[in-house]
């Protein structure tokens, strides 16, 4: 009951946030210089041509009127039509969303696995050189941003030792039997591991580039948190029962140490999704981020608005999910 109530409150605040964001984006992209209509017309088009096309897209009205029309459409599920692609924005955006989701989630999983292993190994071997090595690696991973990792990876595994694909989402010559845009997921469901390995070979480097900084954050925070937890009385008591170090870390310390890390992972995951914009560009990966950059270059106003709103919905959704996970994993909150 309390859970339902807090979810409802969150949904209401989310709606307000989204509305505010929509207003800001709507105004900003119309105030900055650059006329989308002028970019569509061939050179030598007349003033009259521009005016006619502007009227066609409703751009001759005041910003306020334009917003009302747009918002009215959104409430009915119509996000307008892309100026460049001449297709409904919603269709375009939802078509690209699965690619970005698969990339982000793959990156998140890689980050959790690497960061978790680093923290656990560092804790198990604390005081040894291995721990020092892990700390140094964490520091390096953290001080280099994701797109530079992307370049490093391209150089290493795309050029010097070409084991992965450096561009695209799947080899274009392959026949794809998929009905959804979730290629990775669907290739597993259809047991098409030939396609699966091709998709992974495309996705691995961008996902790893996104994952490296986050894995370092997870590694550092979880290790610190484990270190504090390892001194607590219940951990010591478990040792007197006859348990060894590994068991004590995994069963007594980890579940408690993971809670603060989880909250941070939620926040950082939204940064990671933001990072897809540049990474997708770098790896010519056909996702939302890549589409966002094209939309901005072409001043495709309806498309920009649609993408921004979708990103915002994803961010708040992730945060909501993390809070619910936190409540579910923490017995003190669960019964409060």
């Amino acid at each position: 009951m309390r859970l339902l109530q807090s979810v409802l409150v969150r949904l209401a605040t989310t709606a307000v946030t989204l509305f505010g964001l929509a207003v800001i984006v709507f105004v900003v992209i119309r105030v900055v210089p650059g006329n989308p209509v002028a970019m569509m017309l061939p050179p030598g088009a007349t003033e009259a041509d521009v005016a006619r096309l502007s009227a066609l897209y409703g751009l001759d009205k005041s910003i306020f009127q334009q917003f009302l029309i747009w918002a009215g459409g959104v409430l009915q599920g119509d996000f307008g039509t892309s100026i460049t692609a001449r297709q409904p924005v919603l269709e375009l955006v939802l078509g690209r969303l699965p690619a970005t989701l698969e990339l982000s989630i793959m990156a998140l999983i890689i980050a959790i696995v690497i960061g978790g292993l680093a923290a656990l190994t560092g804790t198990r071997l604390r005081g040894t050189r291995v721990e020092g090595g892990i700390d140094v690696a964490n520091g390096v991973a953290l001080s280099v941003p994701d797109f530079l990792w992307g370049l490093v990876l391209i150089l290493l595994f795309g050029v010097l030792m070409p084991v992965f694909h450096i561009s695209g989402r799947v080899t274009p010559s392959l026949e794809l039997p998929f009905v959804t845009e979730f290629y990775l997921f669907e290739s597993v469901v259809r047991l098409r591991f030939d396609l699966w390995s091709d998709i992974v070979a495309h996705m691995f480097m961008p996902a790893l580039a996104l994952a490296i900084p986050l894995s370092a954050i997870i590694g550092q925070l979880l290790k610190q948190s484990l270190k504090e937890t390892m001194h607590l009385d219940y951990v010591t008591l478990s040792r007197t029962k006859g348990y060894g170090e590994t068991h004590v870390i995994l069963r007594e310390a980890l579940p408690n140490a993971a809670l603060p890390t989880l909250t941070l992972v939620g926040v950082q995951f939204t940064f990671l999704i933001g990072g897809t914009v540049i990474i997708e560009r770098l790896f010519s990966y056909e996702g939302l981020g890549n589409m966002a950059i094209d939309a901005v270059i072409n001043r495709d106003l309806p498309l920009i608005q649609g993408i921004v709103i979708l990103f915002a919905v994803i961010f708040t959704g992730v945060n909501l999910f993390v809070d619910m996970m936190y409540a579910a994993l923490n017995p003190r909150l669960r019964h409060a």
């Binding site: 005081g127 607590l232 009385d233 219940y234 010591t236 008591l237 478990s238 040792r239 007197t240 029962k241 006859g242 348990y243 060894g244 068991h247 007594e252 579940p255 408690n256 994993l329 923490n330 017995p331 003190r332 019964h335």
Partner: protein, 289 residues
Amino acid sequence: MSYLEIDRLTVRLKGGGTLLRAVSLQVAAGEVRGLVGESGAGKSMIGKAVLGILPRAAEVVSGRIVLDGVDLLTLPPAERRRRVGASCALIPQDPLTALNPSRRIGPQITDRLVDILRWNRGRAEGRARELLAEVHIPDPDRVMRCYPHELSGGMRQRILIASAFAAEPKLIVADEPTTALDVTVQKQILKLIKEMQLRHGTALLFVSHDLGVVSKVCQSLTVLYAGMVLEDAGIGDFFRAPRHPYSAALLAATPKYTDPTAGLIPVPEAVLAAVRAEVAAADRRAGHV
């Protein structure tokens, strides 16, 4: 023969500093031995050395810890852990921090039985229920499904006592088991520990700085100062006529044995100076200054 025999155990900090100075003490099967001394004297350190939970900064430099005829310090770590886990247990000081907040009570009692002693789960759970009843917890089944935060401090200490006795250990280290509790609860918990000890015939190493409590619970006691044993006596002899001047001063500082606030009268400076000189002399003899 004693069940636990600590023989000239010396523990030092890796960074320098001596925590225990050639400590020797014995606990016979079923005996309750008090371990008294001021804060920082090394009482807890002795218990930790026996249980194998010395802080990482500390190390045993010499001596033996013989448990049931076997010197623990010569065993490989895994074998030592298993042996200690199967035959010893700890009743910790603070019940609020000694239970894992994200695990239910039941598994925290039964885990040693299942994982270390290889009992099957049903038998271990039956045993846990039995023990919770012994420590006067109503509705053991419900309590076993609870998380620690749902229970009071007194309840949690009862649970920790039940858990300590679960594997029917031969020796229990109780490290100031009532200090963190409410004064009204303290008495009940002390009574309970004594009652359980008698019923199970367990030897008890009872760490306390309260001579009043020690006089009620223990049969013998060891007085510690700066990691050195000053006196080792039967309880009757000690309270009739302590041999060491420091013990006498401690006893004098606890007028009625019963008043928990009365331990605050300081030991006279002259006595302290003499004890410090004694410690320094012992250090010189041992050759580590």
